[in-house]
């Protein structure tokens, strides 16, 4: 029981990760795939953030009378990773716009069909 509840953050991470990957694989719509990729990346952000939690620790800002802080490093790392994620999403969306201009579709199977007939 403790394993189930005590590690609830990891269960959320695993659920989001699998859901995101599933959307990336199963969806034929190029925009929805990007949403899936974002969920997948968000799960990793949560993994890192929950890793930085120190039991009983407060926010890592120096204050009098507090000696136990959460680990700030994972937060900093994830800030960078979020920026990378935003850049990836922006680039993917830009690609979808150009794919839509070139193929008049954002559905994977229709694009594939057009490539085959070409």
């Amino acid at each position: 029981m403790n394993v189930l509840i005590g590690h609830y953050n990891y269960w959320i991470v695993i659920f989001l990760m699998m859901a995101g990957l599933y959307v990336v694989i199963a969806q034929g719509n190029l925009v929805k795939k990007i949403v899936g990729l974002n969920i997948f990346q968000a799960s990793v952000f949560i993994l890192f953030i929950s890793m930085g939690k120190v039991e009983g620790g407060t926010a890592p800002i120096v204050t009098q009378g507090v000696s136990l802080y959460s680990n700030p490093l994972p937060h900093v790392l994830i800030l960078t990773a979020i920026v990378v994620g935003v850049a990836t999403t922006a680039l993917a969306l830009a690609l979808v716009v150009r794919i839509n201009e070139a193929y008049c579709s954002v559905e994977e199977d229709e694009i594939h069909q057009q490539d085959q007939s070409f």
Partner: protein, 494 residues
Amino acid sequence: MITQHLPILQVIIPLLTAPVCLLVQDRRFAWGVSLAASWTAFLIAALLLDQTLEQGVISYELGGWSTPWGIEYRVDTVNAFVLLIVTAISSAVLLFAQRSVAREILSTRIPLFYTTFMLCLAGLLGIAVTGDVFNLFVFMEISALSSYTLIALSEQRRALTAAYQYLFMGTIGATFILIGIGLLYMMTGTLNMQDLSQRLPAVTATRTVETAFAFLTVGISIKLALVPLHLWLPNAYAYAPSVVSAFIAATATKVAFYVLLRFMFTIFGASFAFKSMPLSFIFIALALAAVFAGSTAAIFQDNIKRLLAYSSIAQIGYMILGISFASVTGLTAAILHLFNHALMKGALFLSLGCVVYRLGMANMEQMRGLGRLMPWTMAAFVIGGLSLIGVPLTVGFISKWYLVVGALERGWWPLAVAVLVASLLSLVYVWRVVEAAYFQPPSPVRAGEIREAPRSMLLPTWALIIANLYFGIDTSLTVGVASQAARQLLGVSE
């Protein structure tokens, strides 16, 4: 002293050139400044390699923050060698780029091309030079994002879907690597590679470290297009602009391979990766699948760039086979092949770039009779092809020789036979192109119009071809460095 700061200059020069190209928005200026930056980077890489060979490992603390708190750049023989080949290829490719890019990319996008090219170069060099795993992830994303953009700059619409597919595979791969890094940090509390390698042995028996190992292996394998995770590669190489194909084919997967070496040998250590984990067995199986599936698929391609892309998948198989031996000879072969394959694929894609420059495409149909119409270009292709097969006096022979010796050393002679049989397969696909170029008449309509490619394109192509021949004959530099690098990775003394 400026020489002290070489490791950071290696990355910062191309990184700063990128915005300059973007701001000035002038094609010729962007080309000139990128070329200068790339040659400077090449010079720095040569100096670094020289320093590491003489004085051993160079450690550079970013901003003066001492390790393991600050970010460390750490250059030993392995990454100095990778830096050298990456900068050499980018210098040759940029020399080639001016004419080729003018024909294949919209003129308004050309400054953008040099901007992203420089970002990609900075990312690749950053991956190679850094001693910090999170820094490595960030550089990996810099190079990956810019290479998706580079591919999408092509005027063919299929390049867009290829870039999209590459973006998805690449991002999933990078995120897997990030998960692996996170799990390692969880167990050790450090991101510095040296520090990790010292702290990991105490906790290797835990499932967290084993999971991290699995995530990292799969993530890096996506980046390096190891079968069955190679699906992004053929289209990305086939529909990208010629210069981009040449640059990415010769460098991106090589740098990913370096990352694999770094994680497996420096961070986890060979005994964990190859004794506690069944990596040897998995890699042998996947490498053989890559070699045979890649070569067979290459035989049936009509688009020559796609053909070379499938051949790249096969060549990656050879490198993976080399490290699966986990011996000094096997690792030497893998590192040698990393260097040599960059030389041959760079040369081959550049010679195809010449064909595309004159004919607009490079399918089997276009190759007919080219042996007479573009003799220098096709001669370059033939020598590059011979190198790919592994004919003596070319670099391809050297790395395959060490691979076979490595297999025999371990007593795995069926693998040695497999390498030789696979070489015959590469003979078949190279021969198809040669047959079309030299033994079929050109279609009479075009024969009059087609001339040899301009000299500014032939020169870099032939520079790489001559390197193919030179390092195939005088192996003292490459083999010496590769075997020293292999010993360093395995932690074996001289």
